[in-house]
Amino acid sequence: MSDNAERIRLFKVMVLARTCDDRMAKLKAQNEVAGSVFVGRGQEALSGAAGIQLRPGDVFAPLIRDQAGRFGYGETPLDVARTVLGRRTGPMRGRDGNVHRGDWGAGLLPMISHLGAMAAPVIGVLLSRRLTGKQKPGDLSVGIASIGDGGMNTGALHEAMNIAAVERLPFILLVADNQFAYSTTSDRTYACKHLVDRAIGYGVAGHRCDGTDADACLATVGAAVAAARAGKGPQLVVADLLRLAGHGTHDDASYVPEDVKSRFGDCLQMFERSLIQQGVLDAAAVAAIRDEARRQIEAAVEQARAEPQPEAATEDWSARCERDLVHVRSA
């Protein structure tokens, strides 16, 4: 089992993510948010375990349920609030929204919506590091890309994973098999016994864990990251869990059958319980962590709310950075 400091770190990140997601959903319900809000409820253990394993210089391509991983890797609540509220001050300046935020400079990749598309860019970053001789043998910078059970079946993901394997790059594919792709059940999504079975076909190491068990996630993702850092090539981590919410806040997920629900617990509740039972945290400490999370998120929301929105009149409508290339027809 991981040391308790790390477990507490993960717990804090999970609480912060859950708090943040809930707050964003509430902002949406209050009509303060344009477009969709996606939450990672049920996926915090896996995602957070990945995020906190990373260090500066690593690269992380989160998807739509990775608030915990993002926080673990260093995203600030302010970046989230600014992006969700479309503030000009945010990393996407109102030009892109919600889960599409990121910062190439910080190794946190701003996703495009097309599932599967963010794996190859992570691999490109890792190849770049190798080519420029920046990698220290045995202690490599690694890259993690997230994907779901649904996204595993995109051609984009396949091509990328295969290239990672051919190049033996320190790449970790983090698969959250949360039983659903939007409303579609796994039996309509893939036919292998378990998605970890894809590892052998790519020639990479495969790991599997219970995504509702935070300690299992820490251990499994930790082992995968360590192996990648050590130069053992790509790692496929597949965790079983359940999306404990709709696809987005607009979706009541009424299509999720009761018996499926009964099979999966809430990773956050269970982790809290075991940390308390094991005496790692007491109820007061947990309450303090919750309060601190609420305080941070609320402060971020308040600050973002007060900040300026983008304005069409002052917007720089240019898709190219080489502005003087030639005369561009004005819109």
Partner: protein
């Protein structure tokens, strides 16, 4: 009936009337019934013929091609037109090339939810007609009315060529009209129609932009005493050149408005058409209005300024009328 309901009704009738029809796409089966609910209730009524697919747009399209060539009339629902970009190859290089290469038609229908909604952002708001139209072979249609949504979907399935059927997401819930599905007469799949007659200038539009055009025409009439004719292309590939040129011949002035990106595509094609074949009719340069040349911004205020609307059309028309 709403635009979306007209699509659903057409789908239901197509499934009921033609055993060759089936629908394939993400999340379209019951009880969910699709991201926009176009297929709600259909998998229950037509067991085994409304099938959820994996997130595999390229293979979804390839599968439809194979089924069509085997005698079926597959309808593929893409969750957003933006994601059909990963099916580009099967659509343009495969479906589009089969008839010329082999002499056999390839009757697939690709249902593509298109167009912008505030907060949709760069990858849930796109118009795909330009990149679907360059390669030969596809028919690309973009119904703007409730009746067209219904009749053109039926025509699309009847058409033996592959059809890209562009459904505007904003119209899904916001456009409502009465129409009688039993009328026998409706314009053919490839026909443009004059939505509103006018003498002073022509506004050509398609898909959601038709409504901005008719709204602009009303303002031009009431506030500026300008009589604008509105031509709804309905089908952007191929173009109904006759109807466009006939309107231009009457008015001498033309604006072409689209929600799509500015480079190439129907606005360029229509402007080029009128310059080439309608030169003598032109009393003024043709005017193109398209979206800005950037990805579609997420923020509603930026979004609203990214594409032309009623006001932009009115503004352009006032200037054009002065020319």
């Amino acid at each position: 009936m709403k635009y979306l309901e007209a699509i659903r009704l057409a789908l239901a009738e197509l499934l009921a009337d033609d055993q060759r029809v089936f629908i394939y796409g993400q999340d379209i089966a019951g009880p969910f019934g699709g991201a926009f609910k176009a297929t709600k209730g259909l998998s229950e009524r037509f067991p085994g013929r409304v099938l959820n697919s994996p997130i595999s747009e390229d293979a979804m399209t390839g599968l439809a091609i194979g089924a069509a060539m085997d005698g079926m009339r597959p309808i593929v629902e893409y969750q957003f037109a933006d994601f059909a970009s990963v099916a580009f190859n099967q659509l343009v290089n495969h479906a589009g090339s089969i008839f010329y290469r082999t002499g056999r038609p390839c009757p697939i229908v690709a249902r593509l939810p298109v167009g912008g909604t505030p907060g949709g952002g760069p990858f849930h708001c796109q118009m795909p007609e330009t990149w679907l139209s360059n390669h030969p072979g596809l028919v690309v249609v973009a119904p703007a009315t409730v009746a067209d949504a219904y009749f053109m979907l039926k025509d699309a399935v009847a058409c033996r060529d592959p059809v890209a059927f562009l459904e505007h997401k904003y119209l899904y819930y916001h456009l409502e009209a009465e129409f009688d599905p039993r009328v026998a007469e409706h314009p053919g799949l490839g026909r443009a129609v004059v939505r509103r007659q006018g003498d002073d200038l022509t506004i050509v539009a398609y898909s959601g932009m038709v409504h901005h055009a008719t709204a602009a025409a009303a303002v031009l009439e009431s506030d500026h005493n300008i009589s604008a004719e509105v031509v709804d292309l309905r089908c952007v590939r191929p173009l109904d050149e006759e109807t466009i040129l006939a309107s231009l011949a009457r008015t001498g002035r033309i604006i072409i408005a689209s929600e799509g990106f500015p480079f190439g595509g129907p606005t360029a094609e229509v402007a080029a058409l009128v310059a080439e074949k309608g030169f003598a009719y032109l009393d003024a340069p043709p005017v193109r209005l398209a979206a800005r040349d950037t990805p579609i911004p997420f923020h509603p205020e930026l979004f609203a300024e990214h594409h032309p609307d009623d006001q932009a059309i009115v503004q352009a028309a006032l200037e054009l009328a002065k020319y």
